[in-house]
């Protein structure tokens, strides 16, 4: 598209004053998010404070036919917030009002720029927690979490962001404001537009207020770790654990490449001779948690080479830290990391893990795999030298194979990171031509001019 017109910028300035950025340096900073390889600067950045101001921005964008890319903290890993067609980046980072935390209704109402971490701390004052806990929770915004349907380490037992969004307020491209859902657990009046907007990556509307369910803070949590000779053995143990009783809160695993990287970085005393590490844990009432953890250890006993239960809170924190520092630990060993997010049905986990390892070898790429084993959600991560185009190309080729194989196994190209620009080329393989066409019709119904986040979902 053409550069934004001076008249459109003047209209934005009349609406928002100095909360309109046009300096080349500022625009450059908004030209990327946490995704490597994707960069494109916007023509202008706006920082609205209220729903009315967002509506005003959208009316201006519609009048002047300027694309709008909504951006929270920009921590996503699929280039969802890179403004590929330039135009306006609408930053929600000044929309940080936490309007309500209700113990009685177990919900919160907030603007999109509140971080998941801040929301969690506010919830804690009422003895509640905000469940989804993506790795980026201290930095990432609730708006962004909703727009990408963020997951995290508690998906198996508690689900992901979509299970907690009760209602949304959103601004349509022409500036109209809609409210979907509300404060109700039960509400079947109309299509479920709330769920449609969750994970829509800013392509249908701009989310301006979120009503989110909270849950009581569990009384206790316990964790243990099991080591296996191979990721295949760990995957089979995961399948058996889930089949043996109620879903536990945490089933996370990592391969030998990750174990070595984490130990080198964090010095937690992990066993370097193991082929795989499985972190298991549960939360709830103390008795039930003890039983659950003991049951998981028992199921692992047949296959694991070693099992250790965390005796203290500090030891449990170490285990969780080991899992959470996977990406940075890997990142330190190269100048660029490409982190992916394929997900397969749990019974296919062992097969997928083996395929990733074989594919890495075939393309000569160093790939470490960790992930939310209980959810069948893998994060194969390639560590490459950013200055070596051949290495990057090899990593991209390896992931091409991995995406396609995941879909062939009945899985998906992304479990929790989103499609964005990074995985759009693979979306049709996942959805098929009929669904892709329907996606485009839905997009057209919300955004007939194609102004919202062009080059992403439904485009």
């Amino acid at each position: 598209m053409d550069k934004i017109s001076p008249a459109a910028v003047a209209d934005l300035r009349a609406l928002l004053g100095d909360r309109v950025l046009t300096e080349p340096g500022a625009l450059a900073a908004y030209g990327r998010d946490a995704t490597p390889l994707f960069r494109h600067a916007p023509d202008v950045v706006v920082q609205p404070l209220t729903t009315e101001e967002v509506a005003g921005v959208m009316r201006i964008a519609t009048r002047h036919r300027v694309p709008v890319t909504t951006r929270g903290a920009g921590t996503n890993l699929c280039a969802a917030t890179v403004p590929l067609s330039g135009g306006i980046v609408l930053s929600t980072m000044r929309m940080t009002a936490l309007l309500e935390v209700s113990r009685e209704e177990m919900l919160t109402v907030c603007q999109p720029g509140v971080t998941a971490g801040a929301l969690n701390r506010a919830a804690a004052t009422e003895g509640l927690i905000y469940v989804p806990d993506p790795g980026s929770k201290e930095a990432s915004t609730i708006g962004g979490n909703v727009a990408t349907c963020a997951g995290g380490l508690r998906g198996l037992k508690y689900g992901v962001t979509r299970q907690y969004v009760l209602g949304l307020e959103a601004v349509l491209p022409d500036g109209e404001v809609i409210r979907t859902g509300g404060r109700l657990v039960k509400d079947v009046a109309g299509y479920d537009l709330t769920r449609l907007l969750v994970g829509s990556e800013g392509t249908l509307a701009v989310i301006t207020e979120i009503t989110m369910a909270l849950v009581p803070n569990p009384a206790a949590a316990r964790y243990g770790v099991a080591y296996f000779e191979s990721m295949t053995d760990a995957s089979v143990a995961v399948r058996d654990i889930v089949a043996s009783g109620p879903a536990p809160a945490t089933l996370e695993f990592m391969d030998a490449v990750c174990i070595a990287a984490v130990e080198d970085f964090a010095h937690l005393g992990l066993r370097l001779d193991a082929g795989a590490l499985l972190l298991f844990g549960d939360d709830g009432e103390p008795d039930a948690v003890d039983r659950s953890v003991a049951r998981m250890a028992e199921v692992c006993a047949g296959r694991a080479t070693h099992i250790e239960l965390a005796a203290s809170v500090a030891a449990a924190e170490d285990l969780l830290a080991a899992r959470r520092c996977n990406l940075p630990a890997l990142a330190r060993s190269g100048s660029m990391t490409i982190l992916e997010d394929v997900t397969v049905p749990r019974p296919k986990l062992a097969e997928m893990v083996a395929f990733v390892a074989a594919t890495a070898e075939k393309h000569g790429v160093r790939i470490g795999t960790f992930g939310h084993a209980g959810d069948g959600n893998l994060h194969p991560t390639a560590v490459v030298d950013a200055d070596d185009p051949a290495a990057t190309a090899a990593a991209v080729a390896a992931f091409d194979d991995i995406f396609r194989h995941a879909v062939d196994l009945g899985g998906t190209i992304t479990g929790e990171h989103g499609v964005g620009a990074a995985k759009l080329p693979y979306l049709e393989h996942r959805l098929g031509p009929e669904q892709m066409a329907l996606l485009r019709r839905i997009k057209g119904a919300f955004d007939p001019l194609g102004l919202l986040n062009p080059g992403k979902l439904g485009s």
Binding site: E23, G25, Y30, V82, A139
Partner: protein
């Protein structure tokens, strides 16, 4: 799809390995005080590294206005380093950035006389004499008290009291500046030269009363040779004064001491022994003094200080303790202006029982 086309042209402003370490994950955003002020990506550590990269590749011209603004708006507090999963050495990157951005005539005029003063040993010595900072003393140990250059003039009691608390410390008034001031204000080479010279002048262990000096000196001459005063007093198990009435005492960390050297428990432990210690909610984040920041960026410095003072008022403290002369001056100014009952005191003065 628009691919990253990293230009092969390199300006050699930055060390490549330092600049390459950032993975742009954005985990630094919530730790950054200036990002909290503006909510703008270019005022975040990640955004600034994007700017540095574009300066390095020439995608932004060296005279770009955002480069100038952001290299100056950054406090240099290094809070981002403590939350960075990739281990980015942001403080070093900022020093290299300012070395380019604030070189020669581009340096803010207000910091130039400070650097000139700090460059001259005899001026520092005269200042110390006039203000009666710690006097020359030889001891049998290989441990010397470092005399902060502006501390000699502004807070001469600090070095006097530390020398009194620990009679084993040698004092050598003929020492220069450690160069932290230079390193943080666009003269990295001079900053390192001064630190090395100080390291040669004072052989053995150097005990400092300033978190900022401690971090810079440790960076150049080695961590094993530098000990900050609270660290030292705790290690030596020095007898400190008991106050007559139980005081409510809070602490303002020194950013470089906490984020650069990882020293934050030590002052808390010392204070906890002698007073009712109250942890301020933002004790670990910058007070807005940030070396010359309070002079160069008055408006932002005051905005950050205002929040801090409100927090101190809400905590109803008798004393708020500083472990760095810059923070001490900043807090004293803020508390005086708001007519607070709380007094700001250097930890050494407090432990000697000589608070005002």
């Amino acid at each position: 799809m628009s691919e990253d086309t990293t230009s092969a042209v390199s300006k050699n402003v930055f060390s490549k390995d330092l600049l390459d370490a950032c993975i742009s994950c954005g985990f630094c955003l919530p730790a950054c005080p200036t990002y909290a002020l503006t909510g703008q990506e270019q005022s975040s550590p990640r955004g600034r590294i994007t700017l540095m990269r574009m300066l390095e590749t020439g995608e932004l011209p060296a005279d770009d206005s955002t480069l100038a603004e952001e290299s100056s708006l950054c406090l240099g507090c290094r809070a981002c380093e403590t939350v960075c999963p990739a281990g980015v050495q942001y403080g070093h990157l900022l020093e290299e950035w300012r070395d380019e951005q604030w070189s020669g005539s581009k340096r803010p005029w207000i910091v130039r006389p400070l650097l000139l003063v700090a460059n001259r040993k005899w001026v520092l010595r005269l200042l110390g004499l006039a203000r009666r900072s710690a006097r020359k003393r030889e001891t049998s140990t290989q441990t010397t008290l470092m005399l902060g250059c502006f501390e000699r003039a502004l807070f001469p009691s600090v070095s006097r009291n530390l020398a009194a608390l620990d009679p084993t410390l040698a004092v050598d008034p003929d020492q220069g500046c450690c160069g932290a001031l230079h390193a943080h204000n666009g003269d990295l080479e001079q900053g390192r030269d001064l630190a090395r010279a100080l390291g040669e002048r004072l052989p053995g262990t150097i005990v400092t009363t300033s978190g900022g000096c401690a971090a810079h000196l440790a960076d150049v001459i080695g961590r094993d040779r530098v000990v900050e005063a609270s660290e030292w007093l705790l290690k030596q198990n020095t007898d400190t004064a008991k106050t007559e009435r139980p005081l409510r005492v809070g602490l303002q960390d020194s950013c470089h001491l906490r984020n650069g050297l990882g020293v934050w428990q030590e002052p808390r432990e010392l204070l906890g022994r002698t007073a009712t210690y109250v942890e301020l909610p933002s004790a670990g984040s910058c007070c807005g003094a940030a070396g010359t920041y309070a002079l160069v960026r008055k408006k932002e410095s005051k905005a950050i200080l205002a929040k801090k003072i409100a927090e101190i008022e809400a905590a109803d403290l008798d004393l708020v303790i500083a472990v760095n002369p810059g923070c001490l001056r900043q807090l004293q100014t803020g508390l005086r202006k708001s007519k607070s009952r709380t007094k700001a005191v250097h930890i050494v003065d407090y432990l000697r029982g000589r608070q005002p």
